[in-house]
């Protein structure tokens, strides 16, 4: 009964989306305000219905209703409740329903809360959102029905994949999807603005909070995913340039560029074409990402089951939506006038440089990810991985960081090069100092990229605080603090990455209980190996005492064995200190009663994710600051009237 209700809700939502689209189209074309008045309620109802459908799917999983095919193939009654809940989106159909739900709810939010946008653009935007949703509703209903039944219902489910039984699954995918799919709002805004030719500062001011919101969530989602992979996979890596990881990075790069571009448009009425193009590109990257994950054309550890039929469907949607949007762009952008002019030495120029560098990195990641596919069309197999991406994206990212540091210190529209260099004096001195320091510490022992990364991270970190100097801190707007914290977060994250690359110490050792291992200032003593049992696993746990000039702490890395399917996973033991993390993994038993141990000391590695959180926090402060200013201005206007 629940499954049928869910399916019905989905069908209703799809019909409402169609209605919404038709009403918006006819209403705008024929200038019929009474038709247009129904668009917003339709969008809200659509959002509510998709949310209901998703809630019902969650209910089915929580109840372990094995008569539903999806639950039977992806869940098990013995799973802890958290993983039953999170298992809803740990599969193709469920995550596709999540996608559609986020689109529907985002559309409803735009219908309910967007007040600043000009009416016709607002309607066009909602029409665009409905148009995109329709394709994905069709995909769900005709090709990936999450509510399909199975008869006879099996006694219990198949899905107990051990890797998914982790709190990371509860957090990483939903946040990522909220960000990914939240960018559809920016896409719809761009379509709406192109249709009604309203690409101006007011439009940008209306679009900005939506972009910020999606971007914050995407940042958090990627950060969480990176940390999850880091502690789960047992090798100490935090980014693998895997095609699916790249598929989440590309929308983020586009969204970051869009974020900055929309601010230029909002405050300076410049970069119109850029802003619209980036809004289209950002969600397009989300859609391309979903295609790559679900079609099986690229080898990836994250990929869903290969299904060319589904792949073709999504490819069709891609061609329709992205092709359509780009065609609309080409057709209409000519009618959009050029924005206000600016000089070479100006903040606008640096923001254009920022856009360009981000877009270049995006292009390179895209090309690198697709390159194996391209060469295979010629019968040649190649692999493109970390060595290429690090070497290519790294230097450009460093240049980007420098632009990020200089930008806020340059005036809008026109500034003097001499004045700018005076403001940059302090960070430049720090840079030189760091260069000397790091050279002394590690010349010849670390690569050039980590070396430069450390220098740039330190000096850019200092420079990002510069906008606050000589300012009354209590009267500084909240969004300025947001910018400072976000930029500082970038520098912090870079510092963590560079430190991890440069200074990580790895030790592989085969030890007997009673042995002490010394590495990187730590004394690690293997006490014993003992068997353990959990809900649905058995394990061998190593009890180890670790100390560094002080009292020992006991850590417990484990090697876990699951019965169905037969799998061995490793649960790394992580010990976090202010200056880094000790990462210990228990391997196999080797001859002589000894056990394989992998030990890493990773200085300042946690800064990577701390930086990510700071970036998201900065974004949240900026969002709050702008919204608050909007309310204050409206309140003041009302009070004055």
């Amino acid at each position: 009964m629940i499954a049928e209700t869910g399916l019905a809700a989905l069908w209703l939502a799809a019909s409402l989306a169609l209605l919404q689209l038709v009403l918006a189209l006819v209403g705008l074309k024929g200038d019929k305000p009474d038709l247009l008045a129904a668009v917003r309620p339709a969008a809200v109802a659509q959002g509510v219905l998709t949310a209901i459908a998703f809630a019902l799917l969650i209910t089915l999983f929580m109840r372990s209703d094995m008569s539903v095919l999806l639950v039977a193939t992806n869940s098990h009654s013995a799973k802890p409740w958290l993983y039953k809940f999170a298992g809803t989106w740990g599969n193709h159909e469920g995550s596709m329903l999540l996608w559609v739900t986020v689109m529907g709810v985002a559309g409803a939010a735009v219908a309910l809360f967007e007040r600043a946008l000009r009416r016709d653009t607002h309607m066009a935007t909602l029409g665009g959102q409905a148009a995109i949703s329709l394709g994905f509703y069709a995909f769900l209903l005709f090709s990936s029905n999450p509510f399909a039944r199975i008869s006879p219902a099996p006694a219990d489910g198949q899905g107990l994949n051990p890797l998914l039984q982790d709190p990371g699954l509860a957090f990483h995918p939903p946040t990522l999807y909220l960000g990914y799919v939240g960018l559809s709002v920016a896409f719809s805004f761009a379509i709406g603005a192109l249709l009604t030719r309203q690409v101006d500062a007011a439009f940008a001011r209306a679009m900005r909070p939506w972009v910020l919101g999606a971007w914050i969530l995407l940042t958090l989602g990627i950060t969480a995913g990176s940390y999850w992979a880091y502690y789960e996979l047992g090798w100490g890596g935090w980014w693998f340039w895997d095609p699916v990881e790249n598929a989440s990075l590309m929308p983020w790069l586009a969204a970051t560029a869009l974020l900055h571009s929309v601010t230029v448009l909002a405050t300076r009425d410049a970069l119109r074409a850029w802003t619209v193009m980036l809004a289209v590109v950002a969600f397009s990257m989300s859609m391309v990402g979903t295609f790559l994950v679900r079609s099986g054309i690229l080898t990836s550890v994250h990929a869903f089951a290969v299904d060319p039929e589904r792949g073709s469907f999504i490819l069709g949607l891609l061609a329709l939506y992205i092709g359509g949007a780009l065609a609309l762009f080409g057709w209409r952008i000519g009618a959009v006038r050029e924005g206000a002019p600016f000089e070479l030495v100006s903040r606008e120029t640096l923001l254009v440089v920022n856009n360009l560098l981000l877009t270049v990195i995006l292009g390179l990641v895209l090309i690198g990810t697709l390159y194996p596919l391209m060469t295979e069309a010629f019968g040649h197999k190649v692999s493109v991985g970390a060595p290429y991406f690090d070497r290519i994206a790294g230097p450009i990212a460093l240049a980007l960081m420098i632009a990020m540091a200089v930008g806020p210190l340059v005036r809008w529209r026109r500034d003097q090069a001499k004045a700018v260099s005076k403001r940059l004096l302090a960070p430049l001195c720090i840079a030189l100092l760091l260069f000397g320091l790091v050279s002394v510490l590690a010349w010849g022992r670390i690569g050039i990229l980590p070396f430069l990364g450390l220098v740039v991270a330190g000096s850019v970190g200092v420079a990002s605080l510069a906008p606050l100097w000589k300012r009354n801190l209590r009267r500084t707007p909240l969004f300025t603090y947001g910018m400072v914290i976000a930029h500082l977060g970038c520098a912090v994250s870079l510092g963590g990455m560079a430190s991890d690359s440069a200074f990580t110490v790895e030790k592989l050792v085969a030890a007997r209980p009673g042995d002490t291992i010394e590495t990187a200032g730590w004394q690690i003593r293997l006490l014993q190996i003992q068997p353990l049992a959990g809900d649905n696993w058995t394990a061998l746990q190593a009890d180890m005492d670790v100390s560094r000039n002080g009292a020992p702490v006991t850590i417990h890395p484990q090697s876990r064995f699951f019965a169905s399917p037969p799998t061995t996973t490793s649960e790394a033991a992580l010990l976090t200190r202010w200056d880094g993390q000790l990462y210990v993994v228990l391997g196999e038993e080797v001859e002589g009663g000894r056990w394989q141990l992998r030990i890493w000391w990773k200085p300042f590695v946690t800064l990577i994710w701390l930086g990510g959180i700071m970036i998201a926090l900065g974004g949240a402060l900026a969002l709050l600051g702008r919204e608050r200013r909007g309310w204050l201005m409206k309140w003041r206007a009302r009070a004055a009237a």
Partner: protein, 175 residues
């Protein structure tokens, strides 16, 4: 100039669609083939893997007559499945040598006891060194070696019943 740049993204995108479409409709080939097909066999000299068969050296595969080189392991499930086909080939007069990967004498003996022993010689490659030197990426695989010690053909995966005629063909053309 601006006109060009405005339409460039669409043109590039259409290129990507073509690429994706080709990727979807191309047969999925995740198998890694050895690049040494057509090249001489790398030199090796392996100890005996089974108690009742002599050890294997690469020179013994260049003795004038084309031979099959079967890469297998006692812990490999499809290797047991191809045993009847190998036996059929041996009965047809084909000389077959083998290399056992990451194996131990006792396990190889047990495997041959269970599945039959069509091999003339079996070498033991305990650390996959010869497997890597051959460009082989898994078990089972079968190489057709011509009389001069060159690799004529690589068959990846177990030999099915309908593969047997093809293998005989390859052996004939390697004369």
């Amino acid at each position: 100039m601006r006109k060009l740049l405005i339409w460039l993204p669409l043109v590039l995108f259409l290129g990507f669609i073509a690429l994706f479409a080709s990727g979807l409709f191309q047969p999925d080939d995740r198998i890694i083939h050895s690049r040494l097909v057509g090249q001489p066999l790398p030199a090796f000299n392996l100890p005996a893997a089974a108690s009742d068969r002599p050890p294997l050296a690469s020179s013994q595969l260049a003795a004038g007559q084309p031979r099959l080189l079967n890469i297998f392991a006692s812990w490999c499930v499809p290797c047991a499945a191809e045993a009847p086909q190998l036996e059929a080939l041996r009965a047809a007069g084909v000389p077959i040598d083998a290399i056992a990967i990451r194996d131990a004498r006792a396990d190889v003996d047990a495997f041959l006891q269970r599945n039959g022993n069509p091999y003339a010689r079996i070498g033991l490659d305990a650390r996959s060194e010869v497997q890597i030197a051959l460009g082989s990426s898994g078990v089972p695989e079968t190489f057709v070696i011509d009389g001069k010690g060159r690799i004529a053909y690589q068959h990846i995966g177990e030999i099915r019943a309908d593969d047997v005629p093809m293998i005989l063909d390859r052996l004939r053309s390697a004369q």
